[in-house]
């Protein structure tokens, strides 16, 4: 097909926009990484000299050992609990038709659509009055609000594509509910569960708003600690804040890389196609 000049110009313009965006994105990330290794970087294209000592000072100044421990405890608990709550619910939603199902679906859809800061403020109020907020339990509970529905919406279409006759066959051969679950369903569902939980993991490490609203001084996760460090910029050197930012990036991107081995990148944004939205 012969393409006209204006069409080719248009294509070039579209790609130019994409390349411009990606270049700026990488330059922004590059600035953070370079800054964290810089001895001094003022008024030049590149730092004067390089050093790794900011990582040591960031580790001590921001008590990253404690912060990382809290982060992994909270994230681990969120991943586990959202799997335990979400997968059985998704199984029931995929296998049963019952009155009020649309209403239940809407109930699970809302926490994913309403932005965290909007429902986070009343939720933090309730959690503070109950004495849960300010502890790691507050962080875990608040982070479960978007992740449980997320697991459900990733898992429902996955379970629907598994033939229910497989379960029926297992029943015919005398498998009880326990064995059916352990030997038939779990192996079949494992790839879907893995993908869903990895996405929960990545999202929870990066979840700022809910953790910020419910964390106390001892229950800050990495992203909240980073926020406070940037907020109080000037107290610490820029380089050690950036060293912390690099540690945060490394943590997040490591898990993103793991997750991307099992899921399509678009899944991080779009949920199952048949969500009805």
């Amino acid at each position: 097909m012969q393409r006209s000049l204006s069409e080719r110009l248009w294509t070039t313009a579209v790609w130019a926009v994409v390349i411009f965006f990606v270049v700026n994105l990488f330059a922004m990330i590059g600035t953070v990484v370079l800054q964290s290794f810089a001895t001094r970087w003022l008024g030049t294209w590149l730092p004067v000299a390089y050093t790794a000592r900011w990582y040591g000072s960031a580790w001590d100044e921001f008590q990253l050992e404690d912060v990382l421990l809290v982060t992994f405890q909270a994230v681990g608990a969120v991943v586990l609990a959202s799997g335990l709550l979400g997968v059985p619910a998704a199984y029931a939603l995929a296998r049963r038709e019952f009155p009020g199902k649309r209403f239940i679906m809407l109930l699970f859809l809302l926490p994913m659509l309403v932005p965290p800061i909007t429902y986070g403020i009343p939720m933090a109020t309730v959690l503070y009055r109950a004495g849960i907020a300010g502890t790691i339990w507050g962080v875990i509970l608040s982070n479960l609000v978007p992740t449980v529905p997320f697991v459900i919406f990733v898992m429902v279409p996955f379970i629907e594509q598994i033939d229910p006759r497989i379960e029926a066959a297992a029943r015919v051969f005398g498998a009880g509910t326990g064995r059916l679950f352990l030997h038939v369903l779990l192996p079949l569902l494992a790839p879907g569960i893995l993908a869903a939980l990895l996405l929960v993991l990545v999202r929870t490490i990066a979840m700022f708003e809910l953790t910020f609203l419910t964390a106390g001084p001892d229950s800050q996760t990495l992203v909240v600690a980073l926020y406070y460090a940037v907020f109080a910029a000037g107290v610490r050197s820029t380089q050690s804040i950036n060293a912390m930012a690099v540690i945060y990036m490394a943590t997040t991107l490591l898990w993103l890389l793991v997750a991307l081995r099992f899921v399509n990148p678009t899944q991080i944004v779009t949920r199952a196609r048949r969500e009805g939205a």
Partner: protein, 291 residues
Amino acid sequence: MSVPLRLRLAQRGLDSTTLLIAPAALFVVALFVYPFLYGLVLSFQPKTGGMFANYARFFSDPFLYDTVSRTLWIAVPVTLLNLLVAVPVAMRVRRMRRQRLLTTILVIPITLGTVLVAEGLLNYLGPQGWLNRALIWAGLADAPVRLVHNYWGVFLSLVITGFPFTFLLTLSYVTGIDPALEQAGAMLGARARARFAHIVLPLLMPGLAITFCLSFVQAFSVFPSAVLLGAPAGPTRVISIAAYTAAFEEYDYAMASAIAMVMAAAQVGTVILVLLLRRLFYSGPVSGGKG
């Protein structure tokens, strides 16, 4: 009257398997629905004054009610820009074989989150940052352009995190349109622009409306970058900052709840408006059928 209740319920789909939904549903009710209703009730129980005192205060104090227009002034242009750029890019990318590299790159800023993007942009857009150096070097500016601690800092951070989100969502809708429909148009002699305007765009409209809503709601609830990259006391004092200040600096939870309710109402209002506008356009299947 011989069929036991259990069987009758099972016939309607209510058996022990259905009960597996209960823990998750109860959790969402306890930590999402209940707090929201609690906040709604609390907002009508102000520290001082009558039932509507919080809302009366919000809509009479310019320091508070201005936050709505300020947030809109950031969120609407950003969302429109992201959407207008995302559509042509998605139209191009859907024909690409190796989409995965691009989608992987674009997922990075979403994964890193707004706090890290704010920290990165503080360096990158700052007076000594690479962007300003490049502008001066290219002769596009004489002195560093002020891009942080003002409106543009927040705007650009919402482009960095918002564009990939909008784009990936648009891409998933664009790839859902059956290419055979466009080929049919091409065979009948429609040029690319006509095919887009008369075939793709009408089919895409419902998806674009949803994308606009989701992107807008995210931009409207901007928080960390408005504090870190903006001027939180001035032009980028967005509504989430007002709610946060009321709750955690003034400890006036009733007022904070009222502001959160205004925020939710503004978001829901915009979504309803967009969905009503969408009704003016075609709605129907996006795949070519036999019928």
